[in-house]
Symmetry: D2
C-alpha cells in the first residue's frame, strides 16, 4: 500500500493485511479555494483523502475594509458575501461533512468496520491559512473573510456529536501543520533548526527550533510571506506593500510573467497563451521553461532570485541547518530551487564564511497540511518526540 | 459626407457633390500589428480607408539582441523570424498593395475616374512606429524587427511605378504624423507650444514648438515614452527599465490590473475574466470601471497618476500651453484624463504658481497617424502654415 | 586682455587700447546663496565682476508650506524669515547696489569716463533661479522664498533712476541665460538643437531649438532638474520626490558620498573628512577622486550614471545634436563626463542605432549666467542672430 | 552601592559591606571602535568597568574584497591594514590587558584581596560584533577586518596564564550577550518569546525563544540588521543593498538627515551644523528634535517608520510577546519609540486582530553586552534558569 501522491484525488486506498482500522487520525487543511481532508493510520499512511471547495461566503478579502476609506470600497464590496450565518459556520459545516465522508471511507474499507473508532473520539486536526491563536481561534485570515474570530475546531466538534466525553479540536496554522508533517515524515526529519517554506499562490512558512515547530508567544510565528522586502512594492492582500509573498509565489510569477510578456519577451509562453501577452500565466511560463525555453527560464531565474532573497533574510534571522521548500511552485522543482540557492548564497550575510545552508524540496506534496494537522492532533503538540 | 470615425473600417465613403477626385493625398500608418492607410481630399476628409496586418516577419523585438548575453536568448529567438527577403521589403510590399487599393477605391468613386491622378504623382506619406531619420531611413523600431536601416518610402516608391518624374516618399515617425494631423485638423489647432501624447500599447509623443511639429536634430524628437521614470522599474522592449510607457500605457494598465487582481481586489474585473485573477486584462478593468466599479476605478486612478507624472516631467521640460492625449487608452476618456490632470497638478514643479496646463482628448482617433502622414506629404513639412 | 576665468573674483580688468567704454551691458545672476554681476563690452568681454551674498530674508524654501499640513511645519518655520519689506525688495536693493558698483568700476577704468553711458540707459539683464514668466515676473523660486510674484527687473529699475526715457529690465531664468551665453560665446556656438545642463547644488537646464534658447509658452521651459526619475526617491525642495536634481547634482553627490561612507567604503574621503563618515562631503569625494582614489572614483561613476540617465531622457525627448554640461560639478570635468557619456550611450532609446550625441563641457564657468543675462538684454531676445 | 549607569566611565565602585570579592565574572564587549570590559559580582553588579579603543589593524571592512572586482578596490585598500601579526592577536592582546586591569581594580577594592580569585579561574565571557560560531570561532565580522577565523577566546586565554587546570573562554555574538543581560537583569526579565534589537551605528539583534537566547544551528541566529527590506536600497558594509540596518540605525538617521537637509528642510539642525546642509549629522537632528524642532522630529518619525517596518517583519516571523530596543539610538527614547510603535501597528500582518506587541526601552545601557558576556560565562549557557 502506498501513500497517495501529491495531487492524487482518489479517495480509495487498497487495504493492507496489517490494517486494523484503529489508531486513525483525521486532518483537514482549509485554504482559500479548497478544503482537503485525510484520514491517516498509525504509521502516517493516508487511508482516505477528500476535497471540497471552500464555501463561497467564506472566501474574500478581509483586508479590504482595512485598506479602504470609510464608506469607500469596503461598503460596496460587501455585496459579494452572503449575509445570514457566520462564515465560520459555513466552513465548519463543510469540514464536518468532509470528516463524515472520510470516516465512511475508512469504515467501509477496514477489515472490520466495527474496529474503526467513532469520529468524535478520534484525533482530529485542522490547519487553516491565517493567524490561528494557540487556543485555536482564527484571528486573521485574508482568504477566509469574515471567519476571523471563529473557533473553527469548536464549531466542527459541535457538529460531530452530542455525546459526552468527546475530545476537542484545536485548529492550527496550515503552514505549521505542513512543517510538522515534513518534520515527522518528510524532508525535515531529524532537523533541529530549520525553516519550512510553502510557495503557492501566497507564501507560508514555519520555524523549526530545537526540533519542534515553534509557534511563538500566541501561535502566530512563521508568517514569512508577510516580511516586507520592498516598501514600495506591489500591494498585498494583507494590506501592506512589497511582502515577500508578492514576489516568491505564484502571484509573483504571474506578475513577472506579465511584465516580461509586455516587455516583448517570453515568446513561447505568449504562444501558449494564444498570442496575447496579457493572457500569459505562471503556468504558461512554467510549461515553456520545462520545455527548455530560455526566455521562460529567465523569468524562473528572476522568481528564484526573489525566493533566495527572502531565504537569505530568514537564514540571517534564524540560522537554520536546512530549508525545506514546498507548495504548488514546488512543481517547478530544481528549475526553481537552483536559482534560489544561487541567490541565497549571494545575498546571505556572511556569504561563504557562513557556509552553505541546503535548500531541499518538500517530500509530502499537497497533502502535507492535512497530514500534519492529523499528526499534531494525535501527539497534541508540534513536537515529534512528544 | 462625414469623416470616418475612429475604428470605422468601412472603406467606402459616399461621394459628395463637390468631390472632383483631385488633390488627393495618401497616408499610411505602420504599427507593430497593423498597417492603416487613408486617402484624403483637399479638405482633409478621408475618402477611403484600408487596413492590413503588419507582415509577420517584420514584427518582433529588435531589442532582444541588445539585452541578451552572447549566445544566449538572442541566438535561440532568431528562429521566429523568416529568412529570405529583408523585412523592410515585406512591409513595402504590403504598403504598396494597400496604396493600390486606396487608389482603386477613390478612382471608382470619383465622378470621373480619369480625374484621379496616378498614385505615383500624388503626395504619399508614411508614418512608422520607430526612430525615423529626417531623410526617411528607419533607424530603430523595436516593434518592426529587422526593418531597421530600411528606407521604407524609397522601397514603396520603387514598387509603385517605373515612370520618370515620379515624386518621392519620405517616411516619418508615426506620433509626429499624429500630432501634425491634430495640429492641422484636430485638438491642437492653433497651438504654438504643445505636447501630443498617444497612450496605446506603448506611449508615443510629439512636440509642438513655435507652431510646428518639432522633430529635432535628426528627426528623432518626441520619444516621450522612453523617458525613464524609475530605473528599477519593469523591463521595456527598448532594453531599459522603468520607461514611462511601462506605466502610462495599455501595458501599464495590464500590469496594474494583474497586480491588483493578485492582491485580492478588482472583484468585478476578475468576474469578467471568468474568475481567474491571472486572466484579468486592461479591457476588463476599463469595462468594470466604465460600469462604475470602485475597485476598477481605483486602478484607472493609479494609471492616471502615472500619466500625470510623465506629463509633469514634460511640462517642466517644455512649458506647453496645452497637452493633447490620444491613443487607444483614449477610449477611457475623462475617466482617465481626470486623475491624470490631478496628478499633473500635484506633481508639476511650481504647481499652482505655474498655472494649469489643460489636458484635452485628441480629436482624430486611430486614423490620425495616417491622415497626418498624408498631410505632411502634401505640405512637405510638419508646419501647418507652410 | 583676457576674460575673467571661472571663479575669478577680481573686479578690475586692465584696459585694452580698443576699449572706449561704450556698448556696455550689465548682467546679474541671482542664486540662492550669492548674486554675481558683470559688465561686458561689445565683444562680450567681462570688464568688471562683483559678487554679494543673496539677502538673507530672501533665502529659504518656498516649498515648505506646500508640503506641510495645515498648522504644521509651515507655521513654525515662518520664524526664520524677517517680516517687513517684501523679499523681492531686498533682492532688488542688492542688485541695484551691485549694478552701481559695476558701473563705477567700468567708469573708473574707461579711457574717458564720460564715454560710459548712464546705467539706466544701458542694457541690463537679470537671471534668476526659478520660474520666470516671459514678462519678467518670478513665479516660483524654492531658493528665493517669498520673492515669488515679484517683478525683480521693475523693482531694480525703480531704484536706478527717476529719469524719463529709461529702458526696462526683464528678468529671465538663470539657466536660460547661461545657455544663451554658451550659444553666443561658448561651447554651444553654432548649435541648432542642443541642451545645456548646469550641474550645481541643483540642476538647471535650457533647450536650444532651431538655433535659439527656447523658453516655451510662458518662459518656463527647460526645467530639466525637476523631471522625476524615481517617484520613491529622496524629497526635493520643489516638493516632489526623486527629481533628477536629487541625483545629478552636488546634492546628489553629497547623498551618494554619505551612503558610501556609511557603507564602510570611501576610506580616503573619510580621512579627508577627519575620520567621521558622517562628515564626508561631495568636495572630499571630488578631491579624493582627483587624486586617483578608486573608491571615490566609484562614487563619481555612480553620479555619472545618474547624469547619463537624465541626459538619455532628454535626448529621447529632444534629439539634440550636442549636450553642453556646466555648473559647479563641471569642476569634476572629464572625470564626471566620461561615465556620464557611457551611461547615456547605454540608456538612451535606440542606443547605437541612434548614434552618439556628444557631451561637452561648458566654456564660460560661473560667469555664464550673468554674461548671458547681459547678452540677452542687449539683443532683446534669446536668439543670437537677432 | 549602585550599578554603573550607561556611559559611566568610572572604574572605581565603592565597596559595600557585603562585598567579599568572590564569585566575580568578567565580560568584554568587542565592537568596531571600542572594547568595553566589566567585572560583575554574584548579583550582577558592575564592580569595575574599563574601555580601550579597538586595535586599529583589526578595524576595517571585511566585505570590501567581496564587493570589488579582481584587482580593483580590494587591491588598493589593503594598505590601511598593518601586516605582521594576525588581527585576532592584536584584539586578544587588548582584551587580555583589559582583563588584567579589571582584575587589579577589583582586587584593590576587595576587603581582602586574597579573596579575589585568579583571573584564569574566573568565568570570562567575550561578546563580538560578528558571526560567532557556537564553538567560539569568529566567522564573519565586517567591522573587525581580518579577524575572521580567529578563536578570540582561546587567544585571550593563552595570554592569561600557563597554569594547568585553567578554564576556557568561548566568545559569543555581542547582541546575544546584550539580550542575555536584559533577560537576566533588564527589560526582558521573565520573557519567554521576545526580540532584543540594538540600534546603534548598525543594528544588532537576538531572539528569545522559550525563555532563552536562541542562537540557532551554528550560533549565528538573530542577525536582524541584515534582513533586506529594499533590494534597491543603499549599499551595506555586509555587501548587500537595502539591509534594515541601512535605515533603522545611526547610519540610517545620518542618511535621512542629509537628504532632508539637502532638500531644504531641517533648518535648526543645519544651523547646529554651522549652516552647511552637508555637515548635518544624526546628532544634530537628535538635538534639534529633543528641543522640539518640528522638522527634526519629522526625520525622527521617518527613522521610526523604518524601525517599525523591520519590527513588523520580526513580529510576523517570530510572534514575540514583547520587543526590547536598546543601542545608542536608544538615547532618542520615546521620541523614537513612539513612531516606531505606530509604524509597527500599521505595518504588521494582521494588525489589530493580532493585538499590540509592546515595544520597550532596554534597561542596561552600553554595558549590557559586557555584562551579558560575563553572565553567560558564569552560567555556561544563554538560559537564565540553567
Amino acid at each position: 500500500m502506498t501513500r497517495l501522491g501529491p495531487g492524487g484525488e482518489a479517495s480509495a486506498v487498497a487495504g493492507s493485511p496489517r490494517w486494523e482500522g484503529h489508531e486513525l487520525a483525521y486532518g483537514v487543511d482549509v485554504g482559500g479555494t479548497k478544503i482537503l481532508g485525510v484520514a491517516i493510520d498509525a504509521g502516517g499512511e493516508v487511508r482516505s483523502q477528500r476535497r471540497v471547495p471552500t464555501p463561497r461566503q467564506a472566501a474574500g478579502s478581509a483586508a479590504r475594509g482595512q485598506r479602504d476609506g470609510p464608506g469607500g470600497q469596503a461598503a460596496r464590496s460587501g455585496g459579494s458575501e452572503t449575509s445570514g450565518s457566520h462564515p465560520g459556520e459555513a466552513v465548519a459545516d463543510a469540514i464536518a461533512a468532509l470528516l463524515g465522508e472520510l470516516h465512511r471511507d475508512v469504515s467501509g474499507r477496514a477489515r472490520d468496520d466495527a474496529s474503526v473508532p467513532a469520529l468524535a473520539s478520534s484525533p482530529i486536526g485542522i490547519g487553516i491559512a491565517g493567524l490561528v491563536e494557540t487556543g485555536g481561534v482564527l484571528r486573521f485570515a485574508p482568504n477566509l473573510a469574515g471567519a476571523s474570530g471563529a473557533d473553527i475546531g469548536a464549531l466542527v466538534m459541535s457538529r460531530l456529536c452530542d455525546e459526552a466525553g468527546r475530545n476537542s479540536i484545536c485548529a492550527k496554522n496550515d503552514a505549521n501543520c505542513t512543517a510538522f508533517a515534513e518534520l515527522v515524515l518528510g524532508a525535515a526529519r531529524g532537523m533541529r533548526y530549520g525553516i519550512v517554506v510553502t510557495l503557492g499562490t501566497g507564501v507560508g512558512g514555519a520555524l523549526i527550533v530545537d526540533g519542534r515547530v515553534e509557534t511563538g508567544a500566541r501561535g502566530f510565528a512563521g508568517e514569512v510571506g508577510h516580511m516586507v522586502v520592498d516598501p514600495n512594492g506591489p500591494a498585498c492582500p494583507c494590506g501592506k506593500r512589497g511582502c515577500w509573498e508578492r514576489y516568491a509565489s505564484g502571484a509573483g510569477l504571474a506578475r513577472l510573467a506579465r511584465e516580461a510578456a509586455l516587455a516583448g519577451t517570453l515568446h513561447e509562453a505568449v504562444r501558449l497563451a494564444g498570442g496575447n501577452p496579457e493572457l500569459v500565466t505562471g503556468e504558461h511560463v512554467t510549461a515553456a521553461a520545462a520545455g527548455g525555453d530560455t526566455e521562460a527560464l529567465h523569468v524562473i531565474d528572476e522568481l528564484g532570485w526573489w525566493v533566495g532573497l527572502g531565504l537569505a533574510n530568514l537564514v540571517a534571522l534564524l540560522d537554520p541547518e536546512r530549508i525545506v521548500v514546498g507548495g504548488g511552485l514546488g512543481h517547478a522543482g530544481e528549475m526553481l530551487l537552483e536559482p534560489s540557492r544561487s541567490a541565497l548564497a549571494a545575498l546571505v550575510e556572511g556569504g561563504a564564511a557562513r557556509g552553505t545552508v541546503p535548500v531541499v524540496e518538500a517530500a509530502l506534496g499537497e497533502q502535507a497540511g492535512a497530514v500534519g494537522a492529523a499528526l499534531a492532533a494525535r501527539t497534541g503538540a508540534m513536537d515529534p518526540v512528544v
